[in-house]
Structures are given as structure tokens and as C-alpha cells.
């Protein structure tokens, strides 16, 4: 797939945000804050970073993208539709009975989802197992994993951090969506994670901190991770939950609910008119 320029990536991300709002409105339930916050990372991945073929989703040499925090699936679905994995009309089927777009991703329903996820804290371990197995066979593709900061409360996640560190899985890159919210409140109130960087480093990981809305930083960080041969890399992406919609930004109340019609209209209006401004922030 052709790689988009930084400027086009910003525009693409804005279009993806609009479709997220529309699909959540159609579904009538689902998560708003996380998907909007990660729209830039997903856009960068699917339109610049990943080595993949949407027309041949299960292409053997594709880079693997594991989504550990399955609840932000809407952003993945919308980005995949934009990339050409399936028709955009499917986006209206989010959360519907027998739909390929389940509320939380199911591997067997949609090609290239890589795994079934939703219950938190298990994605990095699966990605680590995958990276370990592919390294046994000298495969050259990379394994990416997207984790939320909230799921860093889970023991299973830290077991995986230990495992990947022990085995020096340099073909594994993990994004941490550091948006500082989870369902019950701010992460530092629910269960403090800081110093997060020091924790990963203590577990023998290479760690990068970036602005998760800056395309250049996202792409640079992945290129940096490719060059680290002795360790897995964690890219801590500082993101604004609900990014692009003023009344959702940084509000943990928007973690697990969709907009109603009024709210969706306001959100779409903001995304349309602020399109230029969002781009401006990164210039």
C-alpha cells in the first residue's frame, strides 16, 4: 500500500474520527473516548507504517497488529474500511447480531484482526507468543500491539512485559495509549501507573515517549524501534481521550458511551470546522 504524507495522514485521521462518531451513533452503544484518541496512531499505522495488503488481508508476510484493548475496536474498523479491507457501508453494522464488526473484535469474523480481544491485559502476551514463534522460524515481519494504560493494572500484562524482556523480543513493538483515563476515573486515582517509563525499563524494555497525535513522532518512533535489536520497544503515546470533540476531550465519562443524535451533530460539526485547526497543531 502507498504511504500517505504527514499532511494527508492528518486529514485522513480527521475523516476517520467523523466516521467513528457516525458508527457509534448508528450502533447506539460503544466507546467514544479511546477510539477518537487513538485515531492518529491507527491512521499512521495503516497508511504509513504497516507492511500489509488490504486486498489480501491474510498475506503471509504482513506485519501483525494485535489490539489488546478490544473496546477501542471502532477506530480499527473505521481505519480498516478506509484502507480498503471491506466496504464502508459495513460500518453501520457495528455491534449488530452476526455482524463481522462485533462490539469487541472477534478474530474469526473479520480477516486480519489477528485475535479476539476485549478482556484486558492479555493482548501483549499473545503478541509476545506470536513474536516468539515467528522468530523461531526467522520471519521478518514485525508484531505490533496496542495496549491501553488502564489495562496496565492487570497482572497478566506485566507477566508479558517480563516474558518479552526476558526473551529480547526485538520484533515486538507495543504502543501504550497513555490517555490517563479508565472507566472509574483517572488512572492515577484508580491505580497509579507512574513512573511508567521506569517500570518498562526495569523489565528490560526500550521505551519511547511521544505525542500520540503527532504523525511525525509516531512514524519516527516506529522507525526508531526497528533499529533496536536487543530489546522489545514500548512507545508510550500521550493522547487526549475524545480528541477532536471538545466536550469529550479528557472526560473519563466518555470512556464507555456513544453520542446521542444532538451530541453526534455537534461532534461532527466540530470535526468539520476544526479540521484545519487540528492540522495546524502539528505544523
Amino acid at each position: 500500500m502507498d504511504k500517505l504524507s504527514f499532511e494527508d495522514l492528518g486529514k485522513k485521521a480527521n475523516g476517520i474520527r467523523k466516521d467513528i462518531i457516525k458508527m457509534l451513533l448508528a450502533a447506539g452503544s460503544g466507546h467514544s473516548a479511546g477510539p477518537l484518541g487513538m485515531a492518529d496512531v491507527f491512521t499512521a499505522l495503516y497508511f504509513n507504517i504497516l507492511n500489509h495488503k488490504p486486498e489480501e488481508p491474510m498475506w503471509e508476510d504482513r506485519d501483525r497488529l494485535f489490539l489488546s484493548c478490544g473496546h477501542i475496536a471502532p477506530v480499527r474498523y473505521v481505519t480498516m474500511a478506509h484502507a480498503g479491507y471491506f466496504p464502508k457501508t459495513w460500518l453501520k453494522k457495528l455491534r449488530k447480531l452476526d455482524s463481522p464488526l462485533q462490539g469487541h473484535p472477534e478474530r474469526k469474523r473479520l480477516p486480519a484482526l489477528e485475535t479476539t480481544s476485549g478482556p484486558l491485559g492479555s493482548g501483549l502476551a499473545q503478541a509476545s507468543g506470536y513474536a516468539y514463534a515467528s522468530r523461531m522460524d526467522n520471519k521478518r515481519f514485525r508484531v505490533f500491539c496496542i495496549t491501553s494504560d488502564g489495562e496496565h493494572d492487570a497482572g497478566n500484562h506485566w507477566e508479558a512485559v517480563l516474558f518479552a524482556g526476558k526473551n529480547r523480543l526485538s520484533n515486538l513493538t507495543s504502543f501504550v495509549d497513555r490517555n490517563n483515563i479508565q472507566i472509574d476515573g483517572h488512572t492515577e486515582d484508580v491505580m497509579p501507573l507512574e513512573p511508567l517509563r521506569a517500570k518498562y525499563e526495569a523489565f528490560n524494555w526500550h521505551v519511547l515517549h511521544i505525542d500520540g497525535h503527532n504523525m511525525e513522532e509516531i512514524i519516527d518512533a516506529v522507525n526508531h524501534a526497528r533499529a533496536v535489536y536487543e530489546k522489545p520497544t514500548a512507545i508510550i503515546c500521550h493522547t487526549v481521550p475524545g480528541k477532536g470533540v471538545s466536550f469529550m476531550e479528557n472526560m473519563y465519562e466518555w470512556h464507555g458511551k456513544p453520542p446521542n443524535e444532538d451530541e453526534a451533530e455537534r461532534a461532527l460539526h466540530e470535526l468539520r470546522t476544526l479540521g484545519g485547526k487540528i492540522k495546524g497543531e502539528h505544523e
Binding site: K108, P119, A125, N156, A160
Partner: protein
């Protein structure tokens, strides 16, 4: 005097000979077509723990296919994963005391295309990683093989914490999961090899203690297919057994036979999918069923059997459960 002694000796010899004939008559009730161990009622019958069969089967499966990998959570020696590790060190993955990691790393490896066997004590795996198995192995439908060793109360001195009696229930309830509980080390070996190539998530249950080896290399084995190991003429009761307690069921059948109670013993090594035809046929033939397992009735073989009882057999079903309780907690 000497002559008297000789007489007595000859008499005893003859008596012994007669006893042997009676014994062999009893043996004929064992299903001959299955090539079972002919010495199973001898006191010196060969005994091995079923986990030994797992260890052997795992090595054989590894020899057959390079995709086979083994993971262990710090119990490599006692789960017999050690034997695989010695043979194929590059295909062994040490996970540490982290059963949730054991399941999830294996899920990733299976998703990639490996055939992972994960071993720990059943109290810990699938005891501690139920949700990880559900989401990442069962719902994902990837072929991870879960070996639950040291299962049941026969673990003995380790105490209740180490005596899982719930694992069959939790694994039976999983979507896509095959559940196998071999009766002896030889069957465990065969089950392990067959599980490697069935393409499905599979739970294999093993025991710590040595138990008599009932089957031989030539005994047929197929996951999902129960076999009649003992059949008296016109049986009045069917004993459906799973796991190493099958041997005790055979001993019981022999004793019942001596008391003129004719029975039929089924080796029901596959709990899920249960061989519905075989067990319902046995129930119809005899009108009375006892299920035998080293597990709670709820969710175990007893539960699975009740699930395939016909509506009209409700009364029979309850009778069965009561008897199961008796057998289980005697």
C-alpha cells in the same frame, strides 16, 4: 507321613489350577478385541502415572512434527515436560510461575501456526487462567493443548488446594474445547499424540500417582470414541468410567461378577464430545448406570452423561447422580 504331605501338596496344586481356570473364566469378560493388558488383575500389574504417558506422547508428537512446542510454568520435571525439553531444547519455552501468561503466550504461538502444549498442575492451569483460556484459546479457536497434571483427589498429601475437582467442569463449558481424561499411561501417550493433530483446543487431564496400565500399545484409541472394556452376559448395570478410576471399575465388575451381578464397563476417556451413542446404548441395555470419576458430578462425566439422557430417563438420571455421589466420595 511323607506320603500324606505329598497328597496335600498335590491337592493344593490342583486347587490352585482350578482357581486359575476360574480366574481365566473371569478374564474372558474383558473385551478380547481390544488387546487389553492380560495381567491387569495380577497384584504385580505394571503401574505408571498417566503424566508419564503425556511426557512420552509429547516427545513422539515432537518427533512427528516440528510445529509442536512445549511450554511449562516452572513444573517441568513433575509434568514430564522435561523429556521434551531434553530432546528439543529449542522448542521448549519456560514461562515461570505465571499460568495466565502460559495460556496467552501459547495462544499467540498457536495463532502463528505452532502446536503448543502447555503443562502445569490442573489446580493452576486451567485453575488460574480460565478467562485467558476462554477468550484467547477457546473463542479464538486456536489449537493449544492444555495438560492439567496432578488432577483429582489422588494427589493426596498435598491437600485440598492441590486437588482440583472442578477442572473438567470449567473446560467442558468452553466453546470449541475437546476434553480427554485418559485411563492409563499408555492411553495418555496416545491421547497426547492424537491431540497434537486434531487442530482444536484440547484439555488433557493427568494424575500424579502410579495406576495400573490397563491398555496396551495395540488397544485401539480414538478421541470421542468410548470402548466397552468389560461385558458380562445380560448385564444389569453399566459402569461408565473415566480416567485411572477405570481400573477400579474393572475390579468392581470382577467382584460383582463373582456375586452374580452382571455388569458392563465403558472406558469413557473423552468427556467432550461424549460418545453419546455408546453411553445411551449402555443405559438402555442395562437400565442402571453408575458413572465413576475423580471429579465432582456437577460438570464432570456424571453431568455430561445426564446431559445426554433422554427426557423419559429423568428418573434414571437422578438415580445415576445419587450413585455417582456415592462412588465419588466413598
Amino acid at each position: 507321613m511323607l506320603r500324606l504331605w505329598l497328597e496335600a501338596f498335590r491337592y493344593l496344586k490342583r486347587l490352585n489350577y482350578c482357581l486359575q481356570i476360574i480366574n481365566s473364566l473371569n478374564l474372558t469378560m474383558l473385551n478380547k478385541s481390544l488387546n487389553l493388558n492380560k495381567n491387569i488383575f495380577d497384584k504385580k500389574v505394571e503401574a505408571l502415572p498417566t503424566r508419564d504417558g503425556y511426557g512420552k506422547g509429547l516427545v513422539e508428537a515432537g518427533q512427528k512434527d516440528e510445529r509442536v512446542v512445549a511450554l511449562c510454568a516452572d513444573l517441568t520435571e513433575s509434568t514430564r515436560t522435561e523429556w521434551f525439553k531434553e530432546k528439543f531444547p529449542e522448542r521448549f519455552v519456560q514461562i515461570g510461575v505465571a499460568e495466565q501468561l502460559l495460556a496467552t503466550v501459547a495462544s499467540g504461538m498457536a495463532n502463528y501456526g505452532k502446536i503448543p502444549f502447555i503443562a502445569s498442575y490442573a489446580a493452576f492451569s486451567p485453575g488460574r487462567n480460565w478467562e485467558q483460556i476462554r477468550t484467547t484459546i477457546a473463542l479464538n479457536d486456536v489449537p493449544v493443548k492444555i495438560a492439567g497434571c496432578h488432577a483429582g483427589i489422588s494427589v493426596g498429601p498435598d491437600g485440598a488446594t492441590h486437588q482440583p475437582l472442578e477442572d473438567l467442569a470449567t473446560m467442558r463449558a468452553m466453546p470449541n474445547m475437546i476434553v480427554v481424561y485418559p485411563c492409563d499411561a499408555e492411553e495418555a501417550r496416545k491421547a497426547t499424540i492424537e491431540a497434537a493433530f486434531n487442530g482444536k483446543p484440547t484439555y488433557l487431564r493427568f494424575a500424579r500417582e502410579k495406576t495400573p496400565v490397563v491398555t496396551t500399545k495395540d488397544t485401539p484409541f480414538k478421541i470421542g470414541q468410548a470402548e466397552v472394556f468389560w461385558e458380562d452376559r445380560d448385564p444389569q448395570v453399566a459402569i461408565i468410567a473415566t480416567g485411572p478410576l477405570l481400573y477400579e471399575a474393572l475390579v468392581a465388575a470382577k467382584k460383582l461378577s463373582a456375586s452374580r451381578i452382571n455388569s458392563l464397563v465403558i472406558n469413557c476417556h473423552t468427556i467432550k464430545p461424549i460418545d453419546e451413542q455408546a453411553v445411551t446404548k449402555a443405559a438402555k441395555l442395562t437400565g442402571a448406570v453408575v458413572t465413576v470419576e475423580e471429579h465432582q458430578i456437577t460438570g464432570g462425566l456424571g453431568g455430561e452423561y445426564c446431559g445426554c439422557c433422554e427426557e423419559g430417563d429423568k428418573k434414571k438420571k437422578h438415580l445415576t447422580c445419587d450413585k455417582v455421589k456415592y462412588v465419588c466420595f466413598e
